[in-house]
Amino acid sequence: MSQNGTVERVTINIDGQDVDVPKGTNIIEAVKMVGKGKEVPHYCYHPKLSIAGNCRMCLVEMGMPMRDRATGEAILDEDGKQKISWMPKPTIACATNAAPGMHIKTKSPMVEESRNGVTEFLLINHPLDCPICDQAGECRLQEFSADHGRGYSRFIEDKNVKPKRTRLGPRVMLDDERCILCSRCVRFSQEIADDDVLGFVDRGTYSTLTCYPGKELANNYSLNTVDICPVGALTSTDFRFKMRVWFLKRTNSICTESSVGANTEIWSREGKIYRITPRRNDAVNDTWMTDSGRALYQAVESEDRLTHYTIGGVHQTADEVAAAAAEQFKSGDVAMVASAHSSVEEQFYYKAIAERSAAKVSLVSHYGAGDGLLQSEDRSPNLRGALVTGLINTLPESDLSSLANAINSGAVKTLLVVDEDVTSLGIAPDLLAKVKLIYVGTHTNETAKVADIVIPSLMVFEKDGSFINQNFRLQKFNTAIPGPVGVLPDFMMLEKIAAPLADEKPAPVTLDTLWQRIAAKVECIEATQAWRGIPEEGIPLEPGSLLELPFVETKNLKYDPDAVKEAQAAPAGA
């Protein structure tokens, strides 16, 4: 690294084209940088794991400029061009780092023959499982066999037999015959999940992946091994045999398990979610996510979903319910229990409602143990959204005892509760009977059951919106499946409630128009930021003094409170 923090760059030559890359980049990444869909096929290499170099699929031809042994002078050919001495044996691209003048061929006869050979070798003992294998359609062995395979088999011997469909853990199924021994799962368990429980036993062609008898792959990151397994050896027991991946629609979203805000992908078909996988974001979660975060989609089809707008338990239209709610807010003495699970856009509206009805806003904390990786101590995705929008200006309380007192003393006549069960937070049902209760939420609970007005909310998979994560990064999520029939996106419903409080008529609103207002009003968001302009990898915000609040999160994969403090202490430009 040079002094001002930039990395030195070198020029290498890939297939006749000069490319400028940071020094030390390995050739697989360098070829990716060339773009145009160029790729060096590989199995065992993973950008976030150590280099193993054992699949031998990424073999490329490498040459260095020829130099005179004695003088070090460059040797030139008849045309005066630098002569290149090509290595007689191919070299693996994942372990070769860019050096000045390096020449790489990714398409020569030697390279094609190498790939042909490796593919043939991988297929000779591989079982003919494609018709029943979950990995079909996203299997790298399938893809590279089609691209780099011989096209016919020369193997007439017997294939090796190994244990099939063994339960490696509660969420992971193992088929040893399919395993190509790339060791990605072993390296992941050792290096990332810090749970050294996988290993290879026996030797040579009989090498078999396994756990020690009595142990299992049960940590909260076990499904990441399924993601990174290039073949169908490790598969998810939850997704097993459910759906072919080529039928599934992919939607970008954000995990709501904690303030980490892991970037995810929702895989759905015809309104049903089949699985969630992590999406790469080097600033948030690399290529990983927790198993518990993936399971959150199962709540979509729960029996407890709130599906209808109701007043006094009777189904009404959205407009009627919105009008009734607005009436209540106008009547005064309003208190609000907001939620850190709401999106930035919804919190913007709740702030408006709170201002317009002079309501006191409480937020309840949802804290749990942090695992130092991708599950932070703050188990809500958008606490910082509430701070940034101004909905609250201190960290949340652990319960609502002060609010309970206020209700008891008669200071509160209307209570809006968003997605919390206040009966377990210090406000008993008989106390709730004293106020007009409006409940907004996705699932029913003791509070919702006694609410006067119930407004069903959409889950994160059913709407668009954004969250601000523990690093004050604004990240957006998209609609993957439709919500219950007739339920509006929250922000549209909130527009219908908020507008009358300012004596305006509710206007049709989209996220684009809403964001014009948000960007204009919220300080740390650029005034020109449009909803469409938010990139899929998110935007880091500058939250100013909010950073000084005593957040509970401790260091994890991409969050370092000490580094944040140091950066704050050092004045900009130092």
Partner: protein, 454 residues
């Protein structure tokens, strides 16, 4: 004409009355070189070794002096010396003699080398099957420690270094230097990718490490004794010192014989020194450097130019036994294991035997070796079982071509070269086997014959 051995390393070990304890060794002038070495500057010892031109006797033949030169002395990390006593190359049985009969020569050579590279700690990685050898070495080390030849403050020089004897457990791949290092560290013996894990920079515990063969380390002692330049006068330029040739197979007097490099030809070794073949038999083939080296056909003619430009035109019996000549004729001297096969040998069975060995010993880390080598074994096994096809020879060659040069370590080449060379030199036998079996099958007979080598 009886050819006299010139014994340097084996000078004492088979003499009547010579025993492997330290007193006997001292009586024969033992540890004088170590006493001399610790008074020299380490860099000077390294120059002597460089001048001597001594090349590794474990198989690769890489000049020891150059290996020591590549050692990263500036990293600040401790330096380690490892003696590779994992002798497992089929056909080789020289290190066993040194360990069992003259362990102190090895210990002295090691301590001189350790001092020269300023190693912090030394290891002897001995194969697990040498039960007795392990006990002999342990005792010898204690004897040497008592006399201050190793351990703390060796001979008052201020240099300290200990030796730990580490037993292997039956894996040929532990003979590969990075496989050995992994095994020493307590992992499966999977060789490391080079670059970046060259032992001279990132070896044992990611520290600079030198791994040398037993015979090579013994040579270090002799280099110090006579000086590098004198040592270089033994043998020929580029092939200095003596080598111990281990002859096995169909000869009258199999065994180990020490000669200066290039002093005997392959013919002299087989017919004079080893008493020739069994009565009534003719020479068919020789594997000159352990089973990993390419086979030589007895009726082949070898022509070409040596490194220094001289032309040669040899029959198999004319090839001088050294590093470069065997390399020139398309094989290598490897570990010095000369396997002699007479005309009773079925070459397909011989290859099947070798393939079984490599398939069994593959560590399984990288794809070509893990899948390709057992494939070759399955093919040759099938051929011996009576289902050979005429195209199997080309298939075997093609598989071997896909393995050599594509693997993490040289095991790929070691497994591929026998196949490539057997097919190149004896393809007729492979094709003929398929034809024979087809004929017998058509005649209603059992296509397979009883095998002797597999």
């Amino acid at each position: 004409m009886a050819i006299e051995e010139q014994k340097l390393i084996f000078k004492n070990l088979d003499e009547p009355g010579y025993s492997n304890d330290i007193d006997c060794y001292l009586k024969h002038g033992g540890y004088e070189q170590l006493k001399k070495a610790v008074t020299m500057k380490p860099e000077d010892i390294c120059s002597e070794v460089m001048d001597s031109g001594v090349r590794g006797r474990g198989g690769a033949g890489f000049p020891a002096g150059m290996k020591w030169k590549f050692l990263d002395r500036k990293s600040g990390k401790p330096i380690y010396l490892v003696c590779n006593a994992d002798e497992s190359e089929p056909g080789t049985f020289k290190d066993r003699q040194i360990i069992h009969k003259d362990p102190h020569q090895l210990i002295e050579g090691m301590m001189c080398a350790a001092y020269a590279i300023q190693a912090k700690l030394a290891f002897i990685y001995i194969r697990g099957e040498f039960f007795q050898g392990y006990r002999i070495l342990e005792r010898a080390i204690e004897e040497a420690r008592e006399k201050n030849f190793l351990g703390e403050d060796i001979l008052g020089s201020g240099y300290s270094c200990d030796i730990i004897v580490h037993r292997g457990a039956g894996a040929y791949i532990c003979g590969e230097e990075t496989g050995l290092i992994e095994s020493l560290e307590g992992y499966r013996a999977n060789p490391r990718i080079k670059p970046p894990y060259f032992p001279a920079a990132l070896g044992l515990y990611q520290c600079p490490t030198i791994v040398n063969n037993v015979e090579t380390l013994c040579d270090v002692k002799h280099v110090i004794e006579m000086g590098g330049k004198e040592f270089a006068k033994i043998g020929t330029p580029g092939n200095t010192g003596t080598r111990i040739w281990c002859v096995s197979g169909h000869v009258q007097k199999p065994g180990y014989y020490e000669f200066p490099c290039s002093a005997v030809t392959l013919g002299e070794l087989i017919f004079d020194v080893c008493g020739g073949l069994k009565p009534g038999r003719k020479l068919k083939a020789v594997i000159p450097g352990g089973s990993s080296s390419k086979i030589l056909r007895a009726d082949e003619r070898f022509t070409g130019k040596l490194k220094d430009g001289t032309e040669y035109d040899w029959g198999i019996e004319d090839i001088p036994m050294d590093f470069d000549s065997l390399m020139a004729v398309g094989s290598m001297s490897g570990s010095g294991g000369v396997i002699v096969m007479d005309d009773s040998t079925d070459m397909v069975e011989a290859l099947a035997n070798i393939n079984y060995f490599y398939a069994h010993e593959s560590c399984g880390q990288c794809t070509p070796c893990r899948e390709g080598v057992p494939w070759m074994r399955k093919v040759t096994q099938r051929m011996c079982d009576g289902h050979a096809r005429e195209e199997d020879a080309d298939l075997l060659n093609s598989i071997a071509d896909q393995i050599a040069g594509r693997t993490i370590c040289a095991f790929g080449e070691a497994a591929a070269w026998p196949v490539q060379s057997f097919i190149a030199k004896f393809k007729d036998e492979f094709v003929e086997k398929a034809r024979e079996q087809a004929t017998r099958r058509k005649a209603g007979q059992n296509p397979s014959k009883e095998t002797t080598l597999i």
